[in-house]
């Protein structure tokens, strides 16, 4: 390599973790390999974060204020980071990379919940979606830190700190939109109504979670329902809004009955990678 170029291909331009924090690359090079079932569980966690990161990334340059371009971008980056860890870890069971799993699985192979696939809508809908997901994932990671699986516990430990900020961001906006103007109040209520049917699915005990939960590896989603719903109810009512009277949508089981939106998300996300199979970027 030509030294006068000033750069080398080994420069760590893409190492975004600060200090000694582990990176997905570290995880991969550590040689850790997980089993099939833990991998399937990690996919559920990774796919949720990936879909939501993809959705939030679209806000950058479109947010209501410059500070929100930054904030939503930060949240998207955190979630993408979580997704990269979980997918990388899952991939160790099958000899696949995070990119194999993100770019070369078809629609029906993803395990994400329909909530995170919902379109951004207006800012209020995005905040409603984020509020629910960040309350859910905060509760989830605060238990996953005690997982018998050391890698899952370490990722949860990192994610928990970040998700605490996401919760705060959504809760602050919930208050502002609910208590701002008549219009913002109505939009915030409408935002909650628009996504509420998809809350249930987050608490479904999809396979192979029950067995892993028994082994102390996974967190059983159904046990998150009470604390998450009680916190959500409290925050929403304190903001002066009401819990939507919307029934859970049928098919809340992270199965093949995914949202219509998933195909569009993947079409956009995967298009370039699939045009050049086998290429490195």
């Amino acid at each position: 390599m030509n030294e006068t170029a000033g750069f080398t291909a080994q420069d760590s331009a893409t190492r975004i973790s600060v200090g000694d924090a582990i990176t997905p690359e570290d995880l991969r090079s550590s040689g850790a390999a997980t089993d099939e079932e833990t991998a399937r569980y990690a996919l559920i966690l990774g796919d949720d974060s990936l879909m939501l990161a993809q959705r939030l990334g679209h806000w950058i340059s479109r947010a209501p204020e410059l500070e929100e371009d930054i904030a939503l971008g930060n949240i998207a980056l955190d979630l993408l980071g979580h997704a990269r860890f979980f997918l990388t870890y899952a991939g160790t069971a099958w000899g696949k990379t995070e990119d194999d799993l993100a770019y070369f699985r078809d629609e029906d192979e993803f395990r994400s919940a329909r909530l995170v696939e919902q379109d951004n809508g207006d800012f209020a809908k995005t905040i409603a979606r984020q509020l629910i997901f960040s309350f859910y994932s905060h509760e989830l990671y605060s238990r996953l830190v005690d997982s018998a699986d050391e890698t899952l516990a370490a990722v949860a430990d990192k994610a928990l700190k970040e998700v605490a900020y996401h919760q705060d961001h959504s809760a602050q906006w919930l208050l502002r939109l609910a208590g701002g103007t008549e219009e913002s109040h109505q939009r915030m209520q409408a935002g909650l109504e628009a996504v509420w049917a998809y809350v249930d699915e987050l608490f479904y005990d999809a396979e192979p979670t029950p067995k892993l939960a028994e082994a102390g590896i996974a967190v059983l989603p159904s046990t998150l329902r009470e604390p998450v719903m009680s916190r959500l109810t409290q925050s929403i009512e304190q903001a002066g809004l009401s819990i939507p009277e919307v029934k859970g949508a049928f098919g809340a089981d992270r199965s093949g009955r995914f949202s219509e939106q998933r195909g569009f998300i993947l079409a956009e996300m995967q298009v370039l990678a699939r045009q050049h199979p086998g290429a490195t970027w």
Binding site: T14, P24, I60, P64, G180, E268, L272
Partner: protein
């Protein structure tokens, strides 16, 4: 004075007139002292700070330059932002997101620096919204392929750094200091752009072609980012006299060309300029004429995407108006509640 001459005017009026002339004299004195101090700061190559006296034109020039730079960061989020959802690997997606987010951050520092000169952010937003303000023309070109993200990072951010490193020493303190941090992040951006191109130019035949096409399209516009040739750049001389600008457009352009030629060789990509060659005598690379008709046409609003970029910005502002109103209304209510509580407690 009034005791010696017979009063033709009522006493009060005289006193008032004297007061006005006193004030005028004091202001003139202050301006003279301020001017001398300003001249001295510039002569000694020291920093001018927000509370220092400064000539109106110095202030105006800075507001124009700093806000144009801020606007460029904001509009510049669009061409790259449009690849966030399609980035070909998760690592690239993360890096690109971080980069576009940095640009929003740069916009923030720069708007803040402009605010220290007395122009509020909302006023600057309005200038961009109405199309009155200018931003870097390069962002009116489309980012068609993934390789464009590499070319923008390497060439566009590279040109920006070449321009901005000397601005870290700009005479206006808040501007110079904001440039220090911006330059650090920009050099990271240039590196990631170069790395994208390196991966492509060492990848498949299609990837290599994609990289070459991107370089072909961005080379000329990137060189034009330094502005018109020195003999056609009316504002440069004054900016240099005020220690805002340190090098002329052509000097900076030459510095940039000298930097990228070996980098292009390392990439294995060709720069699309048949006249590009090393000049032993000058110790620099010679390069061919640039298409200045195209440049001025894009500056005047006829670039490929001028309308789209502005429409995107306007849509974001319009769609977010109710959110900003809500935040302001909420803050006002909170303030009122605190005020009432304080009254009750008193």
């Amino acid at each position: 004075m009034s005791t010696q001459s017979p009063t033709l005017h009522p006493v009060e009026e005289t006193a008032a007139t004297e007061q006005i002339s006193e004030d005028a004299r004091a202001a003139a004195d202050e301006a003279r002292v301020g001017w001398e101090r300003f001249e001295q700061l510039i002569a000694e190559d020291k920093r001018v700070e927000p509370r220092d006296w400064m000539p109106d034109n110095y202030r105006k020039t800075l507001v124009r330059q700093v806000s144009q730079h801020a606007h460029s960061e904001i509009i510049g989020m669009q061409p790259e932002g449009n690849w966030i959802t399609r980035a070909p690997s998760l690592k690239r997606k993360a890096v690109l997101m971080a980069k576009v987010q940095d640009e929003a951050g740069h916009g923030l520092y720069l708007y803040s620096a402009a605010e220290t000169l007395g122009t509020p952010r909302d006023e600057l937003y309005e200038q961009l919204y109405t199309g009155k303000a200018k931003y870097s023309s390069i962002f009116n070109y489309p980012a068609r392929t993934w390789a464009d993200i590499g070319a923008i990072g390497w060439l566009v951010d590279g040109a920006a750094i070449t321009n901005q490193v000397p601005l870290c020493r700009a005479s206006y303190g808040p501007y110079g200091r904001s440039m220090v941090r911006i330059c650090k992040e920009e050099s990271f951006h240039q590196r990631q752009g170069w790395e994208i191109l390196y991966s492509l130019s060492h990848g498949t035949e299609e990837q290599k072609q994609m990289a070459q096409n991107a370089v072909d399209r961005f080379y000329g516009p990137a060189l034009q980012m330094f502005g018109p040739p020195d003999d056609e750049s009316p504002n440069s001389r004054q900016s240099m006299a005020w220690n805002i600008k340190r090098f002329s457009n052509d000097e900076l352009r030459q510095r940039f060309v000298d930097m990228i030629v070996p980098q292009a060789e390392a990439l294995g990509l060709r720069l699309p300029d048949p006249e590009l060659k090393w000049n032993e005598e000058r110790g620099h690379y010679d390069y061919g004429d640039l298409d200045w008709d195209e440049f001025f046409s894009v500056v005047k609003g006829n670039g490929p995407l001028n309308h789209q970029r502005l429409a995107h910005y306007r849509a974001a502002r319009d769609n977010g108006a109710w959110v900003r109103e809500a935040a302001a209304a909420y803050a006002a209510k909170q303030q009122q509640t605190e005020y009432d509580a304080a009254l009750l407690a008193a």
